[in-house]
């Protein structure tokens, strides 16, 4: 008799939002595997889950048909009570056997820590899988998490992302007795809405994909993706065009269609006078079309659409899509022209009517704060001899940055904020420095996004983000858990990315103070307490640590060691981290780090420094050669290290410090720090404390986790 069989479970739905399907599938796979393995039904095969707009389907090629029997021991009364003095079972033994449903003769004695006890072996018969699945599947389905779920019959009915309309649940080709959301599971699936049959008998996992394909459903996402990619590429190549790269859209169309087919359409070349950004956004966001470029990189007056049919039977679909696009472009062109009837700066007064955040005033207020902070950055950089830094440009760009929020174009295409302002500023003759800064100032939008192209853009972007961080955190809007409605984590990440990628000299604490000052001198005039400034700084540093680890590839302890030695200048901290990373694998370094850790522990144990610290090390108090040697070696190394460090040669400085190792080792071998004589002891402690302080300015070595010696 066969032990395993295939299992297929299709949840048939009304159209699930395309952006949610892939994640739901990943989740459902984990959930199913959890339930099936907990029930002891999974053999070696894992579960596979596919998703399409109207279905999520879980499959397993080999599921145990029955749980294995399991044995376990139950202990009963102590042996002393269970048998009388002639070795006959007492009433206690008999009733234990009865209760466990085994004959008295099958009872046996086990040794336990508490003595000898009577025990029985119980066998739990494995249950058939066909009985278990109907119990676990409803729980598994309910466990899929959705951003928001709905009811479609009554309140106490099932909640899901969209109504469930059919279920296929087959074990070994036989339907399971399962009901969910008022739908009884069967063996019939449903084909494509318009091209397939509405009842498709399914035999099992093996022929499932083919049966659906015959009915114009490509149930496997990869199959749809392949069809889309090859058809798009073919259509574009046929015209010598290149598809505008858009991985998000490419992924979305995979989940918008059960039988995707690419078609090409055209639009009037006169619309090409609109900026590319606007054309592409109209096509992508509103219509889910792929834009096309000519070989020389210009926009082509054509687009690619993915339809949910096998072909455009009568040419009506192409004509329809072209008509819709025409109307969209006509609107965009109208906005482009009507917004520019006045100059970008003329929108400023309107910004005072738009609330930024109720506690933080209007966008008009925010702009004033941003101008002040942006100017501050530019002045800092100018003082640091960066010639492109211009306070006037930063001020102008910050002034214009938010104006596009009240334009018709951004009201229609909110995702173009910043970009539209930049384009208008350019069209209206603002200098390149300014219009690019306006264009870029929302950047970076995430970990993978680019930072602003020019320095003025960096100043405005930093000002925008810092103002958000300072304002929100000062108003008690620190993000908690996964909720971050004001995007503060992204803002902090942006601050870190801009500083690091453009290698900008910025004192983080001074920048936070500049943000706090802007908040207290402009509306809504909130005073930021020093403790809050510290909180803001820590919030930004937390993101910095993340970027340094995940993005720049530093180890946890390298980040900690370098930041412990100073975290105000992130660019400098990264340089120190690089030096540390380069040198830590050399012979002397990690052993030295171990010694430094030891030094720190000794000093911590010694209690408050005022109890022992001498004003300076006193050579005359040395009793051992080793401490004398360490002292002189340290002085020599310190001199060398300091000069290297001043020259920015952190690696060389660290190398010099590493040379201290023999002296330190010898010190610990020969010298007892906690000497009997108080003065000698205090002198030794002072020596160590100075050592630690002197040599922890590049990185705090005691943070370094030395590799375990194996």
């Amino acid at each position: 008799m066969k032990k395993t069989a295939d299992f297929l479970f299709e949840i048939g739905c009304e159209e699930i939002p395309a952006g949610m399907i892939a994640k739901a599938c990943e989740e459902f796979k984990v959930i199913l595997e959890k339930y099936l393995s907990t029930a002891g039904l999974l053999v070696e095969e894992s579960v596979e889950v596919w998703g399409a707009p109207r279905r999520i389907v879980g499959m397993c090629k080999a599921l145990r048909l029955k749980q294995e029997d399991s044995e376990h021991e139950v202990t009963g009364p102590p042996k002393s009570v269970a048998y009388d003095n002639v070795g006959q079972p007492t009433r206690a033994a008999v009733s234990f056997a009865d209760k466990q449903g085994v004959p008295v003769s099958k009872l046996f004695v086990v040794n336990t820590p508490r003595g000898e006890y009577l025990a029985a072996k119980l066998v739990t018969r494995g249950r058939p899988t066909e009985a278990i699945l109907p119990e676990i599947l409803p729980h598994a389905v309910a466990e899929i998490s959705w951003p928001r779920s709905m009811c479609w019959t009554t309140r106490d009915g099932m909640r899901f992302i969209r109504p469930i309309r059919w279920l296929v649940a087959l074990l070994d080709g036989k339907p399971l007795k399962l009901e969910l959301a008022g739908v009884r599971a069967g063996r019939e699936s449903v084909g494509h809405r318009f091209l397939g049959k509405s009842r498709i008998p399914i035999k099992g996992v093996d022929r499932y994909e083919a049966s659906l394909r015959k009915n114009f459903v490509l149930v496997r996402p990869e199959a749809r993706q392949k069809k889309i990619q090859s058809e798009l590429a073919k259509l574009a190549a046929g015209r010598g065009l290149r598809i505008h790269d858009d991985p998000l859209l490419a992924n979305l169309v995979v989940y918008l269609n059960e039988y995707p087919t690419a078609i090409m359409g055209e639009f009037d070349p006169s619309y090409l006078e609109l900026p590319d950004e606007i054309l592409i956004t109209v096509m992508r966001d509103h219509q889910k079309y792929f834009a096309l470029h000519t070989r020389d990189g210009r926009m082509a007056p054509s687009f690619l659409a993915v339809i949910n049919l096998d072909r455009d039977l009568k040419g009506l679909i192409r004509a329809g899509h072209e008509r819709v696009l025409r109307a969209r472009f006509a609107d965009a062109k109208f906005f482009w022209q009507s917004d520019q009837k006045c100059r970008l700066a003329d929108f400023l007064p309107k910004l005072s009517q738009v609330t930024y955040e109720s506690r933080l005033g209007s966008y008009g207020d925010k702009v004033e704060r941003m101008r002040q902070i942006a100017r501050w950055f530019a002045e800092q950089w100018f003082a640091a001899a960066i010639p492109q830094a211009s306070s006037a440009s930063a001020d102008r760009a910050a002034e214009l940055a938010k104006c596009d929020l009240v334009t018709e174009m951004v009201k229609e295409f909110p995702e173009l904020q910043g970009i539209v302002g930049g384009l208008y500023a350019e069209a209206q003759g603002e200098p390149e420095d300014v219009f690019r800064a306006v264009y870029d100032h929302y950047r970076p939008a995430g970990l993978d996004d680019k930072v602003p192209r020019n320095l003025t853009g960096c100043a405005v972007a930093l000002a925008d983000k810092l103002d958000a961080l300072v304002g929100c955190i000062a108003s008690g809007l620190l993000p908690t858990g996964s909720s971050d409605p004001f995007g503060l984590r992204r803002a902090a990440l942006g601050v870190v990315k801009i500083i690091l990628e453009r290698k900008l000299p910025v004192s983080l604490s001074a920048a936070v103070s500049a943000g706090a000052k802007a908040l207290s001198t402009n509306n809504p005039k909130i005073h930021v307490k020093p403790a809050t400034e510290k909180q803001i700084l820590d919030f930004i540093l937390e993101r910095a640590r993340f970027v340094m680890r995940e993005r720049l590839g530093f180890a946890y302890d390298e980040v900690n060691a370098a930041l412990a030695a100073g975290s105000d200048d992130l660019v400098d901290a990264v340089r120190r981290m690089e030096a540390l990373k380069a040198i830590r694998r050399t012979k002397n370094f990690e052993p030295l780090a171990v010694s430094f850790k030891r030094i720190r522990k000794i000093i911590e144990k010694a209690g408050p420094p005022e109890n022992w610290r001498l004003p300076a090390v006193r050579v005359e108090l040395f009793t051992e050669d080793a401490e004398r040697k360490l002292h002189s070696a340290a002085s020599a190394v310190a001199q060398k290290a300091t000069s290297e460090k001043r020259a920015g040669k952190y690696r060389e400085a660290l190398q010099a410090i590493a040379e201290l190792r023999p002296a330190v080792d010898r010190f610990f071998t020969d010298v007892l720090v906690m000497a009997e004589d108080e003065q000698v002891r205090r002198n030794r402690l002072t020596l160590l404390a100075e050592l630690l302080k002197e040599f922890s300015t590049i990185a705090d070595f005691s943070e370094i986790a030395a590799e375990e010696k194996s």
């Binding site: 928001r148 709905m150 918008l256 039977l313 009568k314 329809g320 899509h321």
Partner: protein
């Protein structure tokens, strides 16, 4: 080839009023009561009491009606081929939501001459929300060749009340569907009848109401009217007799709702006129919603007590 296709559509496409007839017939056959447009300015078919009030409470109901919907901010003086101060919706409520609601809807598209194998029809996520009515639902916008033609919603909440049972709301955008059926670029070129165009019937109205909404509506008096209607609604609702069943039956919840609709329209008018700042916007929407949620409460209480009376009468009758 391409011109031939267009020609074919032009011959076959229903004119505007035939489209309305066909859809009304379809939904009447599907068991809907055919209602008439509401006689007060509304921004959407949802605001007709046949939707807003009927979806509340437990009683099954199916209704369909045409609802001209006024959106002052969307007016374009009749110059934009696709935007209108007043467009025409066909609204369908199916309560409770049947399991085959999508199929029914698609069948309605077939009856108006849409070949579903020759057009790209899809259901794309779009969760509908009306903050002024305290109403929201989950569903889709239905796209035909990339054009939104219908809002398809499983109504979850209305007047701030969780709905039980859940209704399906279908809102057809009739002008959009007609432009596709007739193959014209501008709504103003639609044939209303075979002899009259949409422009002949409606252009003047678009021009006049655009001028009114954007230029001539008196801001101070519009605001005053908003406040008068709001006050009257609150005054009326305050007098709802929560205890006395006889007085309850006659209590004019419907009149209170009319006042609420007035407020909503006057708000839209002020908004189009540019008289409302963003901050004030949210506050005004909240004020209208407050009336709407209050009405929903009263309506539910009134219906429940009426149902209780009926049950009592029935019991007496049988005894």
């Amino acid at each position: 080839m391409k011109t031939k296709v267009k020609h074919e559509v032009r011959i076959r496409g229903l004119n505007f009023q035939q489209l309305i007839f066909a859809l009304q017939k379809f939904w009447a056959d599907a068991g809907c009561i055919l209602q008439q447009p509401y006689d007060i300015e509304v921004g959407a078919g949802t605001m007709h009491p046949e939707t807003f009030l009927r979806v509340l409470g437990p009683d099954p109901y199916r209704v369909a009606y045409v609802q001209p919907s006024r959106r002052p901010a969307d007016g374009r003086y009749g110059e934009n081929p696709n935007r209108l101060y007043k467009h025409t919706q066909l609204q369908v409520i199916l309560k409770p939501s049947p399991a085959d609601s999508q199929d029914l809807y698609l069948a309605s598209l077939r009856t108006i001459g849409i070949d579903l194998k020759a057009h790209d029809v899809r259901f794309e996520e779009d969760n509908w929300e009306s903050p002024t009515l305290g109403a929201w639902g989950m569903g889709w916008q239905v796209l035909l060749d990339g054009q939104e033609i219908t809002q398809f919603t499983y109504f979850q909440q209305c007047g701030g009340v969780d709905l039980e049972p859940v209704s399906v709301e279908l809102t057809y955008g009739l002008e959009r569907i007609a432009t596709i059926l007739q193959g014209v670029e501008s709504v103003f070129d639609l044939r209303w009848t075979n002899d009259h165009t949409y422009s002949q019937v409606r252009l003047g109205e678009e021009e006049q109401f655009s001028a009114y909404s954007f230029e001539l509506a008196d801001i101070a008096s519009t605001r005053q009217m908003f406040e008068l209607n709001e006050r009257a609604a609150h005054q009326l609702l305050k007098s709802y007799p929560w205890k006395d069943n006889d007085a309850k039956r006659r209590f004019p919840v419907l009149a209170a709702y009319d006042l609420c609709l007035k407020c909503s329209h006057l708000f839209n008018l002020m908004d189009a006129r540019g008289a409302i700042s963003t901050t004030e916007r949210a506050a005004l929407i909240g004020r209208v919603r407050q009336i709407a949620t209050r009405i929903a409460e009263c309506y539910i209480d009134q219906s429940a007590s009426r149902a209780a009376e009926c049950a009592e009468a029935l019991e007496k009758g049988s005894a």
